[in-house]
Symmetry: C2
Subunit: 345 residues, 2 copies
């Protein structure tokens, strides 16, 4: 059964969204004459005078960054969401719109321009985790902020416009579509089983041991069965936690450790600074209880065959649904064959 699935087109079900994804394992033999990306050389300078995120530099807005030594956050100079958007509720026949309030922040992970998560020390990544916790709690406590989306776009091909190690946080009044989908599925499972869907899934994955990438006392990193992106991965806390605000200090460190291990594997895969978008999904900050929710972090990396050939989610994927060329098991196997030491060392 399992072997057959490795060779034949099939669909897999995403238990968190209720959506299907098409897997075409036989398709990797396709020749590629399309677009190739530039390879990125690892940066060397620890401070770049032209970078608007380096300590002491002046940003596009005219504000000057402090001489920060630890993770540093500030309000995005070009925020997509604004806290004081006027209240509008518009309906005219079939046209429907409403205003959206929000706060967008930038989080610099390190003062050192040359670093990325895999190259940072575990204790410095722990400081980033603490910063995410603090921001989640503080933004979540603001009136009208009902969801806090923490994410990182890494690499120019993921739309990142500055190589300084940083992520973003967009927080807003309404709960976004992707989070709502998961809320439905967590709730369904909780109502039927009085258990966390992800706790049970984690148990099954640890038993099967086919898609596990890393494990420590408090966290597991794995390729989900329903992965969409070629080397998509998920980090799941073993304890059934609704949000990162609940992490204790041991867990914060274990989270930082597994983040470093996963991103080293990523960099080693094609010996490049591996691009991805990552994000944390957790409970809304609308004050309601969500006992069913189990927070987790996902990584969506686009590279498929090499440092220069990515997977395009285009025509079929946009109009029908996601499609991938290698199985989740093949992706896990390749990552697990790699050295745990960063290739640049």
């Amino acid at each position: 059964m399992k072997t057959e699935l490795n060779n034949t087109p099939h669909r897999r079900y995403n238990i968190l969204t209720g959506e299907w994804i098409l897997v075409s394992p036989h398709r990797t033999k396709r020749p590629w004459q399309g677009k190739t990306e530039e390879t990125k050389v690892i940066k060397k300078e620890t401070h770049d005078a032209s970078c608007y995120l380096c300590p002491g530099n002046t940003r596009a807005s005219g504000d000057t960054n402090p001489d920060y030594k630890e993770p540093y956050s500030f309000i995005n100079d070009f925020s997509s969401l604004l806290p004081d958007a006027p209240e509008i509720d518009f309906q005219d026949g079939l046209l429907k719109a409403e205003s959206e309030k929000g706060i967008c922040k930038v989080v610099c992970f390190s003062p050192d321009h040359s670093l990325t998560l895999p190259l940072m020390e575990v204790e410095d990544i722990t400081r980033v985790v603490k910063m995410w916790k603090k921001e989640y709690k503080e933004l979540g406590a603001v009136e009208n902020i009902n969801y806090v989306q923490i994410f990182e776009n890494k690499g120019a091909i993921m739309g990142c416009s500055n190589p300084h190690p940083h992520g973003q946080i967009w927080s807003q009044s309404s709960v976004p579509t992707e989070v709502l989908k998961k809320s439905v599925k967590f709730k369904e499972y909780w109502d039927q089983n009085k258990k966390s869907l992800l706790s049970d899934y984690l148990k099954q994955e640890l038993d099967a041991d086919e898609r596990i990438l890393e494990e420590n006392e408090h966290f597991v990193a794995l390729i989900p069965y329903w992965a969409v992106w070629p080397f998509e991965a998920m980090i799941i806390p073993k304890r059934h936690l609704q949000h990162i605000g609940q992490l204790n200090s041991e867990e914060e460190k274990a989270y930082a450790e597994i983040l470093k291990k996963l991103t080293i594997k990523y960099d080693n895969l094609f010996e490049t600074s591996f691009p991805y978008s990552s994000g944390i999904h957790q409970i809304p900050t609308d004050g309601k209880d969500y006992p069913e929710w189990h927070f987790h972090m996902s990584f969506y990396p686009p590279l498929l065959r090499s440092a220069t050939v990515k997977k395009f989610m285009v025509g079929y994927e946009m109009f029908a649904g996601p499609q991938r060329d290698i199985t989740a098991e093949q992706a896990a196997k390749r990552l697990n064959e790699l050295s745990p030491v960063h290739y640049s060392k």
Copy 2:
């Protein structure tokens, strides 16, 4: 009200999917230091000896193309879906998969390597429309084929690996996610109003005349109120048709005409061969009746500011939901200011 929406962050509701999209009209002032794409020079050679889609050439599979003079279709040499996939229905705890049968085809729009839809004659585009009709009917009649997805990926940044004018058709047993979402919304509206959701929407758009791009006797091209991509557009038939198989010959020609007009505007916007993915959404071919459905074609073009700067749908968009920087009305206005004559003429 409308004016306020032009200056303040808001969400708009997509009546076809039930999902919201975040609009940040104030954000276009953001400087761009990120990735820029290569500009493409318009091709000149009408036949390229190294192109595996040109008439008479040998493809990667070893098959040779006939010396075709009109649109030519063939089974994709590296099909994602196969007609003879073994029947598998797999469930193991929380892991769920099933086999998927299908047929993937490539449709060459023209024997002339140098062309694209905006540069083709209306009568030759009409031949492409006829070919889509034929394929939709023939593939839809095959046992186990319950949905036929017609699409085009145009341009290297849309994952297109060959510049020869062509599109694809992936047909399969299950009805894909994006189509199912629309089925729900068409059905809801039909049950309540005994009318096509898109007929009523079209009426409202023609009245408002704020987002209309092109109109002829049988078709309208517009920027939908809930557009996600910067210059996203939709082509809607005025007659309430469930699928392209129902087009009469006058409508085929009117469809070809509006396709040419829309894609000329696109090319003229940044004086480049405008990249996009386009796709036709229509009823499943599972033999059931879908009186509520109204077929339409959508264009998802990524360019935002110029021929080299695109919109990235990354971190926030992947984890929360789509976000755009210009309003649908601003996009329509810009396209409507352009000449109807292709810039290369």
